[in-house]
Amino acid sequence: MTWLNSHPLTFLVFAPAILGFLILALPHALGRLSRMLGFMGALAFFVLSLAWLLGHGGGADISERAPWFTLVGLPVDYALGVDGLNLWLVILTTFLVPLTMLGTWDSLKDRIGTFAAMFLLLETGMLGALMAQDLFFFYLFWEAMLIPMYFMIGVWGGDERRYAANKFFLFTLSGSLLWLVALLYLANKAGGFNPAIMGQAASALPFGVQCWLFIAFAVAFAIKVPLFPLHTWLPDAHVQAPTAGSVILAGVLLKLGGYGFIRFAIPMFPQAALHYAQPIAILSVIAIIYGALVAMVQRDIKKLVAYSSVSHMGFVMLGLASFTVIGTQGAMLQMLNHGISTGALFLLVGMLYDRAHTRMIADFGGVAVKMPVFTTFFLIVTLSSIGLPLTNGFVGEFWILNGTFLSGFSWGRLYASIATSGVLLGAVYMLWMFKRVFWGPENKDEDSGTHHLHTDLNAREIAVMLPIVVLIIWMGVHPRTFVAVSEAPVTALLKEAKAPAPRTFVLKPAVHEAPAVPAAQAPAPREGHAAEPAAHEVHR
């Protein structure tokens, strides 16, 4: 037990893979046992992650670091760490894995044991990437993640699974190759893969070189997010992937893109990141609106949800590009929100598909009559997705929009105002779909989807949805639980990056009054700018 006490992160990262390999060694005939084993294991990892990470002095950093090996003369560290930036993403991962296993219990019929093993291997990849504090180590996990996901899509996917799996793999890989070159170049300059040292080394380089390095990092991460126009692998992958794959893809894998920015790309190349904040913001705003417009005209519910991810993740990137505490914190929360809400939507679409064997919107109508419980859950998750206040979606979007509006960049106000339309468009595509699928007269057509619906949700499915609903409300009513730990690191990060001071409006006081202007809008040194960034942003 003493080893465990000093290496909790190592255990959390590698135990799933070890269990996964064990399951692979089991004979095929024991598929049901393997599935149960995998689920129980994943559940245990979730409980352990809660106990260790949250129980550990309430969010204090935990880390493990040791020299590992040298790569062409450059030392690579075995370094894992959990801090304010990744704590909740780690827990989201350990939470979603068992939940998804339970939610898709009966969805697959063949090689269910192997599937459970792939799932556990994927969990190791994701947790490793989230916790790695050494860039080469991170790179290994980042690429390792692709393999189980490739198999999940390629083996258990839909009719065009091979195209989708290849596209997913090659798209992601091509982005990371460029990134690997940049990584090796910079590691050479820094003499290692420690992100902090690499960041220092980068700051000594000419600005143009910093920019190229940032772009190499950013493209790799932006593909994962995915940021417009690098998103086209996503709809194919989602539609072809089995439900469990879609949930994890949306719930965790996309988050790694945003996480990559906040953990590596921005802190390591702050000047370049500030330099490219506007292009990123433009692409984010396009993604928000473009994703929503395209989602609106989809005929397949799953593809609709996939395009909605493009729109929602656009909000995350916009928040990061704002370089304000409010916007960045909003992005942190929005990542969790998207993991919960979109993950839940994919689960629900899967439950519908398992019964009706179709996902086309036109095949449904009047589902509410046949499946009232399912309809209620779908509605609640829909409301979370469209950002209704008191659900999680609202808080994230509101912070991101406010943060962007306050941003020190001159474009902040305009882009925030344009991005607001995403809030409307989100309601358009979600509720229009909801109306066509769930409301209206029952579709009595013999081969319609509605016709094949015989049972409402069973106890297992309800057990999967309940914690999601609890989280949706919890995150909407008390978001501090989930973002309090990231407040300090985000504030420090933005200060290090020398983010421009928030822009506030200066109002004209009445003439006869003494200039008793409140602190929040004290006379500014430069026109239109707050006196001091700290006064406005950090005083909480």
Partner: protein
Amino acid sequence: MNKYYWLIPVLPLLGAVFNGLVGKRAGKGAVTIVGLGVVLGSLLLAISAFFAMKGMPDHRLVLDYGEWMATGALSVPFGLVVDPLSGTMMLVVAGIGFLIHLYSVGYMHGDEGYARFFSYMNLFVFFMLTLVLGSSLVLMFVGWEGVGLCSYLLIGYFFETDFAPDAGLKAFLTNRLGDLGVVIGMMVLFAAFGTLTVSDILTQAGHLAPEVGFGVLTFATLMLFVGATGKSAQLPLYLWLPDAMAGPTPVSALIHAATMVTSGIYMICRLAPVFTLAPITMDVVAWVGAATALFAATIGLVQRDIKKVLAYSTVSQLGYMFLGLGASGFAAGFFHVFTHAWFKALLFLGAGSVIHAMHHGAPSAHAQHGQEDGAHAPSDPGVSPEQDLFKMGGLKAKMPITFWTMLIATLAIIGFPGTSGFASKDEILYLAYLKNPALWAVGVVTACFTAFYMLRLFTLAFLGKARDPHAYDHAHESPATMTLPLALLAVGTVLAVWLGWPKAFGGDFRIEAWLAPATTFGQLHGAHGEHGSHQLAWALASVSTLLGLGSAAFGYFSYKDGLAVSAARAAQFPFLHKLLLNKYYVDEGVELYLLRPIRWCGNVLWKLFDVIIIDGVGVNLPGALARVSGDFTALLQTGRVRNYALSMALGAAVLLYVFLK
């Protein structure tokens, strides 16, 4: 008691959760007790809180329940504020809300979704009270969006029909469009004031000079007003409200007449000191209000669905309220909210009582979507028979309580001297005249139209001969759970005048002084009322009242003998009649010029941009090129040593040439 006041909004929420989760199994009795009980409990607590607030020296009761969404410089507490404005509104919501819940017990008695209905209604009361009491703009926005959600769910209550889902969707999305304005407005206010807590904003606003021209606050208030046009159904976002009549009638009374649709006015009153700083916004508010009032009234002239007439009437009356606000008459506008809540709720519930009566005689199976023809009157496929004014008539004899209470409400809405409607409308028209006589003229013309269509409705429903004898024979007075609320609302309609009898006619318009702590926040001085005179007020009131009564008489005589007179008149102006009957074809225009292009846009982006440009040219083309070049290179891999030797030799020759050159 203070520590229980958080239950004012939360109690209905608990009721909603109970009715939604276990209501169906618990049975109708339990649903009724819980559904009514929580609203009654909320009302009693609200009364207690109201008097507690009156006891405070500054008439403000502030309740704080900790932080909600704080990060960076943003802090949004869960806080409730009871002051004269929110206190009055809170009593209206809980009081009228309770009466309508009571009425629903009878009205929804036979409906399968009884528990679901009360769950949504309770939820609505929760969100509406949150909107009213919220201490910050964000918490108000919670209620603002939440009532929109409940409105959506209740309009779509008959979800298995064709049209209710469409109407619900339209309502939600139109409201969301307006809400974008609210979000942008909040962002601007936050960037300007550094806080979104209402009292902090108002305190700071008190130190500011009014904006000359178009400034930050003008922009912010205009954006907030966009939200108000959505929620309160003003031009151009009014389109959803008439369709919202697809919901059950108690919903129309509570949400789409008495409370939710007045949120826009309430929000502007709440931020009155900020709006006062933006004269351009005030002009826009006044003119949009006046234009809406007139526009909707003209459509109301020819509708034959009893609920549609009342819906356009609501849009029109809301326009009056905005006209009052725009003329700096925050108290006058809010007073009209108050009186309108009573008489319009009464009108809708009376209409519901009529529909309830007609329904039992009508051959159709469902209260909301019967399409079968009645016996004698000409049928219109778009109007269900039990709501068709053309098939009613003579109901006075069958439904005395409904008749008398409806009469009281009708007199109030047409501004019959001495009624509460007269008092509130007269104050608005007076202030409108002071701002701009043209606004007053629009208001008076609207008042004439209002008097006409209301008398038309009243005469067609209750007087004259029955036009559908079958339905008439089966019609009967509604049960006590329905008539009692009618009677209580009628009492309220009469008594409401006490709060604001105009000064010109010997009253003291006490609502103005009462609201002053909230609408002026202690910093502004009387913005109006100083210029005019009592003579002017008398003259204006005489003109508008005489014209209104004349129009009312015209309406009565046009319809007292049935439909012949009006049909002949319609035949004289076929184009105009058709234009009004089809509501100026605005819905058709929106579909053709707005919705279709947007869908087209989505399709083009998807099929052209995503599939062809990015995927085709950007992804698959390089893929194909790689494959082709791979195939080509593979041709070179012949496996014959002499070919390799040859290429090596060639390569060496090239290298030698390059290096030796």
